[in-house]
């Protein structure tokens, strides 16, 4: 009993630690870079040696293919990853919750229609759909709205990821709403004359929060991975932005002769995504009373 209680806690702890470190790193990135001493865009390798130069005492992780400090780029990259992960997930959550709540609460035709829409999104492999949408907007730098962002290409990525992620959330919310709608407290609220919106927002959604948090956390990890993947393919963050995915691409030609160039960002992606997944799983286990019982 005791062990079973501890096990979910352990993954939760590791996940929380990794995620906290990552978020802290992203929040403090500009100052951390100062601490490193080299900007992420500065070509700091000696002008006489063909970069990438190997790790040494001045550049702990070495430099990349243009002679820029890898550590500095890696730290700056946390911002891009976090931005893409969080903002995309926020878009997905908002959209998905609205659609899911509508479908679940009204049921019938509305439900059928909205759920067919989610089916439509599910029907496409996520990465392919993302590629297709990005290909349809070839110029984020000049696209309306996007061009006002500091990094239009990244804006495009989190928009696309958000637009892809909502379907999962909508399904989840709908299920929760359907489940809770039949409960006594929901019916009581309706009985005393609360309108639909009030019932959904005040009574149904708060009770669906647990699964939403889990899905959101896992979703952030997934988004970070997808962002890296898109950037790896050259359709995500535009150079010289230090997206981890871009950094892996730049290093792949050197994977045998100078492995540090792509191993460092690759490991970073691995660790962060692992962190979010552990955290998400941990929260789920914590919130799910049945888990404990079965494990015991």
């Amino acid at each position: 009993m005791r062990l079973a209680f501890l096990r979910p806690r352990l993954s939760l702890m590791i996940g929380a630690l990794l995620v906290a470190a990552f978020v802290l790193c992203a929040a403090l990135a500009p100052w951390l870079v100062l601490l490193v001493g080299y900007g992420p865009f500065d070509q700091v390798a000696p002008r006489s040696i063909t970069p990438p130069t190997p790790p040494d005492s001045t550049h702990i992780l070495g430099t990349d293919t243009l002679g820029r400090d890898l550590l500095s780029r890696l730290i700056s990259g946390t911002r891009i990853s976090l931005e893409a992960g969080l903002l995309a997930e926020a878009i997905a959550l908002v959209l998905g919750t609205i659609v899911g709540a509508f479908a679940g609460y009204f049921g019938g035709r509305t439900d059928a229609l909205l759920m067919r829409c989610t089916d439509l999104v599910f029907a496409f492999p996520e990465p392919l759909l993302a590629l297709a949408i990005i290909a349809a907007v070839p110029d984020p730098e000049t696209a309306p709205l996007l061009r006002h962002l500091p990094h239009p290409s990244i804006g495009m990525v989190f928009l696309v990821l958000g637009l892809l992620g909502w379907a999962k959330i909508a399904r989840l919310v709908r299920g929760e709403v359907l489940r809770i709608r039949g409960r006594e407290f929901a019916q009581a609220a309706q009985a005393i004359g609360a309108n639909g919106a009030r019932v959904v927002v005040r009574h149904l959604l708060p009770n669906a929060l647990g699964p939403l948090i889990v899905a959101g956390t896992l979703g952030i990890g997934g988004n970070i991975l997808l962002e890296a993947w898109l950037s790896f393919l050259g359709v995500g963050a535009r150079p010289p932005l230090p997206s981890w995915g871009t950094m892996v691409t730049e290093g792949q030609a050197y994977i045998l002769s100078k492995p540090w160039v792509c191993v460092a960002p690759g490991l970073a992606i691995l660790v962060v995504v692992l962190g979010f997944n552990l955290l998400g799983d941990g929260i789920r286990d914590l919130l799910d009373p049945r888990r404990g019982v079965i494990a015991a």
């Binding site: 865009f41 002679g67 030609a253 002769s257």
Partner: protein, 546 residues
Amino acid sequence: MGYRPLRVVRLLLGLALAAAVAPDLACGPGPARGTKIEQVFRFRLREDPPTLDPALSTDNLSGAVLCNLFRGLVEIDPETLAVRPAVAASWTISPDRLTYVFHLRDGVTFHNGRAVGARDVEYSFMRTLRKETNAPWRWALDPIEGARNFTEGKSAAIKGLKVVDDSTVELRLAKPFAPFLGLLSLLPASIVPREVYDDPSKAYQRAPVGCGPFRFARWEQSNFIELLAFDGYYGGRPTLDRVVARIIENRASATQEYRAGGLDSLDEVPPPDDKALQEELGSQILYYPYLATGYLGFNHALAPFKGNAKLRQAFNYAVDKKYLWEVLMPGYLPAHGIIPPGLPGYDPDLPGYPCDPARAKRLLAEAGYPEGRGLPPIALWVNTSEDNRRIAEAVQADLKKIGAAITIKEVDWSAYLKAVEGTPDTPGQAQMFRFGWFLDYPDTDAILRPLLHSSNFGPAGNHIRYRNPRVDDLLDRALSLTDEAQRADLYRQAERIAVMEDAVWLFLDYYQSSTLFKPYVKGVVPTPLGEFRIPLERLRIEKGPS
């Protein structure tokens, strides 16, 4: 001394491997073995050549084989790039630069033993120009008067082509065109025997017959193409007895094959950062200029480069080309202009734009964008490739240092070409793009005219839509001159205007060829025409007795 036994073992191993890999190669026809060591040269081709028909050849793979089998009226000296006699022993040009009379050399025979005559020249040119042949490089013969009409079926003969007697051919041009002789050296102008090339079953596609120094022996698809020395070659029998073009697609396998002794040369050299391979093979790499220039084009029809030479100069001074090509991506030469070394018009004294950030900043301010303020968004277009991105990022970083922010746009080749080329009437959408220009024929005209003459807007080559009447005039005048020194001088003047006054591009690099040769391969003549045009008839193998 201690190395000796090892070396013998390695040599034996190499021989054993070669014998194992290609047992049938080792005992092909050739001089009787035992009397003399057979002289064999084996080089690598990436893929099967798309064609072995000289009229259809446009690529360097088919060129690599065909340039040994065929000859035209004239040929290009691989070292000096001057035109020199081939099937024609001499020629005269009329004072109006329109009529060329060629006197054929005595004793030129095709590989099938028949003597080459003036009728063969007529037949070969008609074959290339005929519509049904579908020769992509028909334009090489287009300057001949009436060539177009013949192709379009409006006349049964080429008006400007006359067979005077058995060994004299007269060609008349529609208008003076100085590089014409150079065009006659191209493969589509090769002389071919009618009895072979009239074959309706087209057997010649797999068994070409010409009058070059080597004759075709056989072609095993995806494996090798074998050529044998032609005893009756008018220039004397080559020293090599046999040439084998081995088709090895994979770069790593080719490198292994070269190391093991199965290849005597290799067109792909180990990457500069592969220390181990560099140490082993570095001394066998030959670097030599190649007729191609790399640049970043500024679109002169779009803001902000339109009419702003100061801005274009500022960009030029900002980029550290020396670092780019000597440290970051070794293997190219930093460019100071347009005409690559090796061409007659090359100008070693052209100052160009050495890296000078202070000057670049000053010019940027004079251009109206102090510290880059007010500069509209600029996208640098490249076609997707690891190297292109690296070059683009290096340029981006250098420009950032003077305050000019640009973005990089990576797209696939066809989308890229569309954005870069535009049409003759409308500019492409790319404001700035990376491009490399390989010369179609070794004449300065072949780079300046397509890229800078205002009659060539759009896909013809002047993607940047540069228009300067002085440059147009110099290029046009050069075409009607025949004195090569005078022509070269006009080209240098045009280049100076385009580079120093107008800064038409961001001048990046001159290309270089790099090829591996085993130390026992002697007589290598590095040529700006490319690694596959190194004349094999001058090679010899000097292996010690094994």
